[in-house]
Structure formats: C-alpha cells, structure tokens
Amino acid sequence: MPEFLRANRREAIAVAVLLFLLTVYLSTHPRGMSTYVMTIWANQCLILALAAAAQFFAVIVRGIDLSVGAVMALTNTIASHVMGGEGISLLGGAALVLAAGVACGLLNGALVVFARIQPIVVTLATASIFVGLALILRPTPGGVINYDLADAMTLDVLGIPTALLITAAVIGLFWIPLRRTGLGLGLYAIGSSEQAAFQSGIQVPLVRMISFGLGGLFAGLAGLYFSFVTTTGDAGIAANFTLNSIAAVVLGGVALRGGVGSLIGAIAGAFILKTIGALMFFSGLPPLAQPFVEGLVLAAAIAIGGADVLRVRNRLEVFAR
C-alpha cells in the first residue's frame, strides 16, 4: 500500500486536502451535513471538474487549452435550444451538444497537428470563434432546459448527489479503463517526450487528435451539465471557466510540462477550488475581501507545489522541470 501511495502521491495529497476542506466546510455550514447541502456543493464542483477534465487532456500531452470555457459557452447555448423538448428528442439534443464539443476539440487538434501552430495560440484564436458562435445563438441569456431531466441530473439518488455518482462513473468507468489501454499510455508518452514516443512507434498525430477530441467531449459535457444546473443558455461564461480549469489541474498535481498527473488529480483539484470558494462564503469573511483571499489561497497552493525546487541538489535539475 505505501508503494501505491508513493507512486500516486500527487493524487493522494490532493484527495487528502479535499477531504480536509470538505470536513471543515460541512462542520461550519449553518445547516450541517445534509443531502441538500451536499447536492448543491457537488453540482458546482462537477461543472468545474468536467472543465478540468477537458483541460487535463490538453495538458497531459504538453499542451494547454484556452478554449475550454468558450466550448462550454457554445455547448451551453446549443443545449438551451435543443434540450427544451420531451422524451426521445432530449437524447438527440444531448448527442448534438456533445458532438459539437467533440467537433470543437477536433478543430483545435487539426490546427495543432496538421497546421503545426502552438496549442496556446490555436485555442486563443478558436476561443474567439466559439464565443462568437455562442453569442449568435444566444445574444442574451435565455432559453430553456427540460426541467425533469435537469432535476434528475442535479438532485440525488437515494440520498447520494447525482453529481457525485457522475464523478465516480467518469473515474471508474472511463478513466481507469482508459489508463490501461495503449491510448492511455500513449498520452503520457507524448507528454513526456514526443520524440521518444514517435520513435517507439506511437502514432503521435492520431493520439494527439484523440486527446483533443476527448478534451472537446469533456468541455461539451461541462457545458451540458452547466445547462442542467442553470437551466438557461448564457454565452458569457467563457473566461471564468478557462482560467479556473487551468488552476484546477495545477492544484490537482498535473504538471503543465505534460506527462505527469491523472484525471483523478484534475477532478480533485476542481473540487478543492470550488470547496475553498464555498468555505469562504460561510466563513464570515467580508464579501469584498473574498476575491483577494481566493487569489491568495491559489497563489499559496501553487507556490507550495513549486517548493520542490528547494530540495534539488544540483542547480541544473531545475532547468529540466
């Protein structure tokens, strides 16, 4: 067991911090621990967790995705047009929303892989396009999401918040199996060294495209889940989620240089970030001081992550990081 912990210490630390914060949150919350409190908390966390998952698939192959929030805005506005109906049309609507997310991801991927432009610049430009499209679909916030479906996705099943069940499903049914496939290994290989991966026979362009496609899929899921929580479409949500998704993966121990970290860490990072925000809401801190404290906590958490540098024995090691 200690071997397992040492191998996964980044995730272990993130999960431990999360459990500590959650305990503090539930014990300071005026209504204490109840399904209601947990559901509200889990819903907010899951939106960011899905955005962080999207960011993770860009970062793990040594990229970055500045269009996560924009894809969320676009898919959210699409959902507000196609998810208002009943029955079977909802299934088609959800498929359309997710397909749009995947298409956005593949467009990013094609520009990176085939046009060979750096991911940060590509996604900067495509984000502008996606937000524009979202604004055409919803110039002002509005639209409607089927309430029954939204309730089913954002309340609880037998006292367990649905959002937590979805999180567990993403990790247990998607990530852990994926990690064991050649594709999962390829993601890490490309992130660690693209050249070595290429020379080992990994189809770098293909794996990269799949990685961007998965990122788009998760950004689409985040936009879809955002629609369930807010039940409207809003084109103005982009900037906030992009920056927070980057902060979340970093807090979860995913290295921006690629090849290090896991989806579990990214999701834990998102939960940590949202729990800190929720904690502050009930902490009695003056509301005007909250953005500052939030920034301070973020900077401190990142600086602690950077404190590794104090342990290096050879100064040259820092340049390899």
Binding site: I120, A125, G132, L243, I246, F292
Partner: protein, 317 residues
Amino acid sequence: MSLAIARRLDLTTLLPFAATVLLILGGSLFFPQMLGIGYLSQQLQIAAFLGVIAMGATIVILLGHIDLSVPWVLGGAALISTTLAGTGDPLLTALAIPAALAFGGLIGLINAVGVALLRIPSMVWTLAVNSMLLGISVLYTGGFNPKGEASATMNWLATGKLAGIPVAFLLWMAVAVGLALMLHRTGFGRYLSAIGYNEKATFLSGVSTPSVLFAAFSIAGLCSALGGVLLAGYANQAYQSMGDPYLLPTIAAVVIGGTSILGGKGGLLGTVGGVFFITLLNSILSVMQMSDAWRSIIFGVLIITMLMVQTLRGREG
C-alpha cells in the same frame, strides 16, 4: 547598421505590415474617409495603448514565458494614478505617473520571484498574481468604479499632439526604439533570446539567468503600467476590469508579428506590425457596424489564417 536592419526586415516581420496596408486599402473601397489623415492619426493614437503593452509582452514571450497579469497591472496602474491625481494636491499629482510605473515594476518583480526562483510555470503564477491584484482592487474600491481623475500630464500623453502626431504614438515609438536598442546592442538582449532557445545552455555559459528573468518581467510590468496610465489619461478615469480586453489582443499581436510563443525567435518590429493589424481590424469591423459575435468570429479566423501563413513560410525557410 543599415545592413543589420535590412537583414532583420525579413518576410515574417513584413507580413503584418503588408496585411495592414491591405486592410486599409480594402476598407477604403467601402469607406473612402479611411485614407484621410484624421482617421489614420486617430488609429495611431489608439494603436499606441495596445502597442506599449505589447512591447513588454514581446520581451517576456522572447524568453519563452508569458505574462497573464497584464489586465490588473494595467488596471492597478490606472487606479493608482487617477487616485493620486484626483486628490488635487500638486505633489501627489506629480507623483501619479511615477507611482503607477513603480507599481508595475514591482509586480513584474513579484512575477519573476515565482517564475525564476520558485520555477512555477509563468502561465500559472502570473495568473495567480493577476487574481490577487483583482482581489486587492475590489477590496480597495468596494467593487464600484473608483473616484479620481487623470492629471493634465496624463491627458496630454494620451490625447495630445506634437506637430500633428499623437503624443501617445511618439511615446510608444520611444519605448519601442529604447527596447530595440536594448535587445540588439546589449548582452541582455542576447541572453533573452538565448534563454528562449535553451535556458540550461545559457546558464551553463555563465549567464545569471534569474537576473535576466527579473529584468524582463519588470520591463513587462512597466510597459503594462504605462499602458494603464495612457488609458486612464484617455478615459480620464479608471474603471473595473479596464484591462481585460487587452490581454488576448496583446498576445495575438506578438505572435502575428512572428515571435514564437516558445521563445527565442522574433522581435519588436514584427509586434509593431501586429499591433497595427489588430487595431485596424477592430476599427474596420466596428466601422462596418459588425455585431460583437461576428467581430469575434472574424477576429479568430483572421488570426488563425495569419498564423498558418507564418508557420507555412517558416517550414519552407
């Protein structure tokens, strides 16, 4: 000297200038007034705000880093300068600009502490610094638009004219020439590109790489702060999130100008062209009364097109 300049005037650098001329000529087919002196001089003035900030951003990107704290360094500098000038006290008014610039330089140093000493990726660290600055300003202003106004000097810098040329443009050119001399005539400039290519090799050659990072980030902070002072002088006030619309166009201007986002390659002249291109593009789209949505889409498509042209050219050469 002339040979050195000629060598630097390669196609990559000229591309954004050529695209700008095309924009003007194309636009003048529909709006003949675009070729008038009045319109062009106004564009020079508006370009200067983005231009000053982009000069600093170029320096940091040449290193292979990025500065995402631009919005609130800009906003903070505007806030400080208008607050000091708004007191009406002659001494405090005179201190408005130096205090704002000192603030920018200081934040640059804080950015460098994280990046150079703690080795935190600049993208994350400067982002965290930006959100702390946002927090401080919310705490200070209470979330409202702050009181205060720009001093006469700030107004003159932003909107005045010297011999018919906007002062802001002259100031931008002065900053550009000063930094260009620094890049091409001092060791600092060489170390900058060298670190962008390979930081480890530069360190092993005996260069104190952290000092270079500190200098570069404080220059970027100074430039962002100067941009804030100019914008405050232009609007005659500071307002919440006035810097947000400047972050992405700044990065876009730098990369359109042919500077590699990975560092090591590029220069200030290309960025000047990139700034012209983006300013005119914005202006033409707003003259055409394009909706925000379409402006955003056209902006994104044109940036990708420019980058594809740059990259394809790079592969041939």
